[in-house]
Symmetry: D2
Subunit: 278 residues, 4 copies
């Protein structure tokens, strides 16, 4: 039984904030403790405690936005992550579950326990430098700008396997395989396959996506340039040592989504034929 | 301890037959019973019993040729398959282990037990029609000629997931992922990942490779045209019913290769930069 | 002023034949001589002379069908080709101009001279063997079945430039660049660029599309296998000598389409997001 | 007859500077006026006038380095550009003509007039903001970092044709088509085709390379984000207005290379199978 809930909404969209207000009201009525992300302070008119994501220890979280809103939530909330009900109010909502007009019905189902939990594997990143949050979608290492070549050596379980010269490399989970990795030419990983995938970005040398077993340890050693850019879920920018060595493994943490039906391949279809906002 | 050996060689290459003769002689000397594929009858000058592949029940098999020679051997030999020592005398020898000049040393190591066995998963194909051999590399379903569109519906574990219009579809093992599937734009599957991959050939609709867990059941239903061509390992042509439904799962059989070192990624590198014979 | 018209329709679709009947009636009323493709004999109930495509010397032609109907018309009609008004009654109608419900209005505009002519370059194919019709979309050379490698040498203006091992090669016009060549990974050629494009199908070796100037002479020499399959516009199957040498140049003939607006990029968008009939 | 020569060399490679010294000496002996790029000041021990690239008005220029050295030379030297003899001392030397050991022989041939000139088209970029140098390879517009989507609208000759959501867009010359555009999946443009090519980088939406006629005017309007990064030849970073509109046309300038043989397709082969320095 859910007794507390966190609300995270895009703060640049009036409709998102308005929906957050309505849901806060509704959840309050239902007797839940409501916590609201503090970036909405001064923008939202709702009763609820304002807290930073990092303190949002609630029974579940409602995100109102697109994939970006979900990804930054997963990075910041305390572990283990509470399950997320994702309402789509974004340009790209491939991870979301519910359209805004169905938000109230969906929340009611949640409170009645009429849902399934979809657990999504995450990637753990370790490097000599700063501690890094886990990735739900992907870890991207690059020279920091397009057409600037990053020269790397790749290891699997400590053994050197290939070198690569490319704009960058994407290490992606099953969830992320329909995101940036797909745009770069990578395969779709069925959500039940126990694996992650390495995909080069605009490789100068001949190089294809490689699918590794989930229990592998993939290490990427930057040879040139000395400074690289590491991005986690397109959101979190990691400061690295010079000529860094990044090691990627499956995380012990997972992200949980509240789902009402099993529609991985419906979401995939909408992703493949995505027309953007134009 | 190996007591019997099968010899399979390309019958269109003198060097291959000559090497087969030398090895037959050598193996005889070492006290092994030698069986030779009967397609070499009249071409080879060696003591050894001529048998068809389907009767080659030996402790191990030596193939002298390229990937084609290995694939047709795996299709035909009795199950469970004896391990294969593959000597490279082909245009494409990505699966082979030993260059001809090292053949004798390699055979000696085999007899001394100085080798590892690499087990490779295979795919089982079932259809309403004819019984089909397992695939070491891939199952290809197509309309039978380039630019003729095959329209299919794809199911995972009985659930419809996607439709596809393409020249054809490749279902490939880890081993086969560096073969035809790669040429069609598919990913490389690390040999330890427990998965197989579906890759479209020249898709008219937007469609990417999908990596499925090894225990999935992937079904391809041909919608149009009514007659399709099914090829197993590029060798075995399957007669199908009209508008056939093909179901692909992991086979209970495996192919075993005799290896002296672990060089999946060396073989991959030679594959990626393959220049052909030109 | 149009005084005679040819009618070509899919003979496997009742709606297409019915529309042909209506248009024949309408055109008759307007005083035109109506010729109907003789494959409709016994299927169509209309006044009009039944003639084979090869004898259809009319002022313009109306096709009722998809791209396949247009392509087989262009291959067979006497040269120079009369302009084509293409009514879409096919699965793939990327080349068509008019939806069936607007057919009568479109025909009226034609008779009033309210249209533009879009001239499309064609490719001429010469080989030691049989004379070949020009291609509006593409010339495809292949080993005849998927996963069977065709090994070729490619020349530009008599000079050898590259070798290729692939399922096949597509030489495509601007018009064809949004067809099979695109499915094989080729670029879109803007219809005003004076060029044609060579695209490999599932290349085993590293090979990309090459865009040649329209006045080049591109020669493809088949090295292996000895027998190859040559397809023109996906329709016309060319018998070739063994180990044939094919030479492709721009044809002196063009295909002319009747267009009411300039919508190359609209057609491209519908092509890129094509969902098939599923 | 060449009476003056400019010398440009990588200043981070001793061998390049040493070769520059030898060539300076040799050219002096032959009676030429020698100008040396002033970035070598203090590093090179040679008689010759130190000048910035922007003042290097000489009869021809020798570059000692890789493609990067050539590209920055072409951007900076006064127009019309003197012909370039490119000696390969770089990681990527696809544009270079001569290996270091043949440098002296090549220079002698130059002085004897035993060479051909290869003229390469360039792209002119205009924008509301800063004046921009022409591109020999490509103009790249992006959001500035991998996985950050740039949303653009594309126009041909003032007409809107397509929208695109991608990491970025590359507009590439024939010369540049074997560079970054190829890495991003674009086609090779034969050097005689009168065209340039637009290639998306990791497109989120379905989008392919488009080949435009050389006399087109292609305009890219950035819709989101407001700030974009424009890179010319991977070297020159253009400051743009917010939400900039970039217009690309063929430049009236060309770059001229001194060539001893016609080997576009040899260079292409080395590019396709490029292994990097690993």
């Amino acid at each position: 039984m859910f007794k507390s809930v966190g609300l995270v909404a895009r703060y640049d969209k009036k409709h998102a904030i308005k929906l957050a207000e309505e849901l806060a009201q509704y959840l309050k009525t239902k007797g839940l403790k409501v916590y609201i992300e503090d970036t909405l302070a001064g923008k939202i008119n709702a009763q609820g405690k304002l807290v930073p994501l990092a303190n949002m220890k609630t029974d579940f979280i409602i995100t109102i936005g697109g994939d970006g809103t979900i990804l930054r939530t997963c990075i910041a909330v305390p572990k283990p992550e509470p399950p997320i009900l994702a309402i789509n109010m974004g340009v790209r909502g491939f991870l979301t579950e519910v359209e805004p007009k169905n938000a109230c019905v969906a929340v009611e189902k949640c409170l009645n326990g009429e849902y399934k939990i979809e657990k999504c594997a995450k990637l753990a990143l370790s490097t000599g430098g700063e501690a890094a949050p886990d990735a739900l979608n992907d870890v991207v290492i690059s020279a920091g700008e397009p057409s600037k070549i990053l020269y790397t050596q790749i290891f699997k379980d400590e053994k050197p396997i290939l070198k690569c010269q490319a704009d960058g490399l994407i290490v992606s989970t099953q969830t992320g395989s329909t995101g940036y990795s797909l745009s770069a030419g990578g395969p779709v990983l069925d959500k039940e396959v126990d694996a992650f995938v390495l995909t080069p970005i605009c490789s100068l040398t001949v190089f294809h996506s490689i699918v590794f077993p989930a229990d592998s340890k993939v290490t990427i050693k930057a040879i040139r340039p000395k400074k690289v850019l590491v991005l986690i879920d397109g959101n979190y920018r990691l400061a690295t040592a010079k000529e860094p060595t990044l090691t990627v493994t499956r995380s012990k943490n997972v992200t949980s989504f509240i789902r009402f039906k099993d529609d991985f391949y419906n979401r995939l279809r909408s992703r493949l034929l995505f027309k953007g906002t134009g």
